[in-house]
Amino acid sequence: MSATRPAVDDPALLRWAAVTATLLLALAIFVLPLAAVFAEALRRGWEPALAAIVEEDAQAAVRLTLLVALIAVPVNTIGGIAAAWAVAKFDFWGKRLLVTLIELPFSVSPVISGLVYVLLFGAQGYLGPWLQANDLQIIFALPGLVLATVFVTFPFVARTLIPLMQEQGREEEEAAATLGAGGWDIFRRVTLPNVKWALLSGVLLCNARAMGEFGAVSVVSGHIRGQTNTMPLHVEILYNEYMFVGAFAVASLLALLGLVTLFAKALLEVLAGRRIGARA
């Protein structure tokens, strides 16, 4: 580019200044915070950090986080695939509104995402008395954590699949249908191979957010140690109790999750040969 188009070549000084400024900014904004988490966790060496991770309440938090993600991610994957299939393969009234509504949870504060379920299922919520009469608990229990997590991760799979499947059109699926293939076969043999990397990338981002969600689950959790504390909530409790090494040690685990997600997403984009889904 630079060799053939001298007119749009920036002066070397400008180029050098821009690159240096960018690298310094990236260092301050992205690298230093990450480094700070690991440095604080290892402030007193490996042993206290590891001890904080293998400790009983931390392990319970890890298990709960995995369990919540294990329920929430498939729900949004199935919903996202269904939505993408309906939107991309059919014409119907209100389609654009539907797409807008699917993306709505991204513009809702995480705290509000938790709040809405408290309004429904909390002790003074609309269904609270009925739940109590039937001895069911949603808020301050696993179902509430799952619901809040499903809400905040709602659009991830749908929004990576919808634009891609719209772009790919319907011809291949229609050809398969003409040849007598059933719906499930069409999806599995024709659509899925075309969207597999994007789907995986959406699931990955959905999972990262599900495991890392803080605000929404904080509202519905009740913060019962060893029972309703997910990993991010455990981090907060440790921090508020001035157990800084422990807080940063568990936070390091979550940071690793974020780094693995970033790496896997970049890898999927190489495999797919294109950028997937843009913004989260």
Partner: protein, 287 residues
């Protein structure tokens, strides 16, 4: 877009075989159930609950001095953070798309970090970094006498971290697809490089910048996890609106919490709508 969608003479043929593919009822039914149960019904509860205490009650909640201060901070800091993200995001997007330098791919991947990093971890990290004895907090305090952590400035810093990727990721593709011909033409006509950037490149990027600004703002205004550690959460000073919702819920004041939540949502939708209209006018002006 499929080719047939743009050909009008196929439209009638298509509508007759509109359901040529199977699974319409199943997929739309699943989608509506999923959307209705998880998003629409709960949000309806948010829209109804506040009015249990009457219009006067809602107004009393919203005009409380502490609530007003929290709204000012949440919306002010989010707007400021989105604004700061504009030049920073433009610079990063420009460097990553236009120049070749070692570490470019890594940098490009790192931009997504705030998306992938759990908010509580981001909050903890920024607090450690900007605390009076932190790697950045100590020099800032020593050289300039600035305190960032546990002040409203900390809120803005955390929100820039959250909003920045939206800017970079919306501007990047536009910048990449921008035809170099226009820039060359400007140069041929005698414009200096800076004039070209200011008069040709930046106006072409403006719609994308507005989109990124809107997305970053929307995310920042509701942000909770990355703020509560660094803010210090002093009522009237560094307390954000989402935190007040949590406080009201702890007092079992559901209607008050819902009132604050509803007001937050409505206010941010008005701001996003205004941005949307501005952008639409820009697009129409250019077409």
């Amino acid at each position: 877009m499929s080719a047939s969608a743009s050909l009008p003479f196929l439209a009638t043929a298509r509508s007759s075989r509109r359901h040529a593919l199977p699974g319409f009822n199943l997929s739309l039914g699943l989608t509506l159930a999923w959307l209705g149960l998880i998003v629409l019904v709960p949000l309806a509860a948010l829209a109804i609950k506040p009015w249990e205490i009457g219009v006067g009650g809602v107004l009393a909640v919203l005009t409380d001095a502490r609530v007003l201060a929290a709204f000012r901070l949440s919306f002010g800091a989010a707007l400021l953070a989105a604004l700061v993200s504009v030049p920073v995001g433009l610079l990063i997007a420009w460097t990553v798309t236009r120049y070749r330098f070692p570490g470019r791919r890594l940098l490009d991947a790192l931009v997504d970090l705030p998306f992938a990093l759990p908010t509580a971890v981001a909050g903890l990290a920024l607090t450690a970094l900007f605390a009076p004895n932190g790697w950045l907090g100590a020099p800032l305090a020593e050289w300039f006498g600035w305190r960032v952590a546990f002040t409203p400035a900390g809120v803005v810093v955390a929100l820039v971290f959250v909003a920045l990727p939206f800017l970079v990721r919306t501007v990047e593709p536009v910048l990449r697809d921008l035809p170099l011909d226009a820039e060359e033409a400007a140069a041929t006509l005698g414009a200096t490089r800076l004039q070209t950037i200011r008069r040709v490149v930046l106006p072409a990027l403006l719609p994308a910048v507005i989109t990124g600004f809107g997305l970053g703002f929307a995310r920042a205004v509701g942000e909770y996890g990355s703020i509560i550690f660094i803010a210090g959460n002093m009522p009237m000073v560094s307390e954000i609106a989402p935190l007040l919702i949590v406080v009201k819920l702890e007092q079992f004041d559901y209607a008050g919490a819902a009132g604050i939540g509803l007001a937050m949502l409505l206010l941010s939708f008005v701001i996003l709508l205004a941005l949307n209209l501005w952008q639409r006018r820009l697009r129409r002006g250019r077409a």
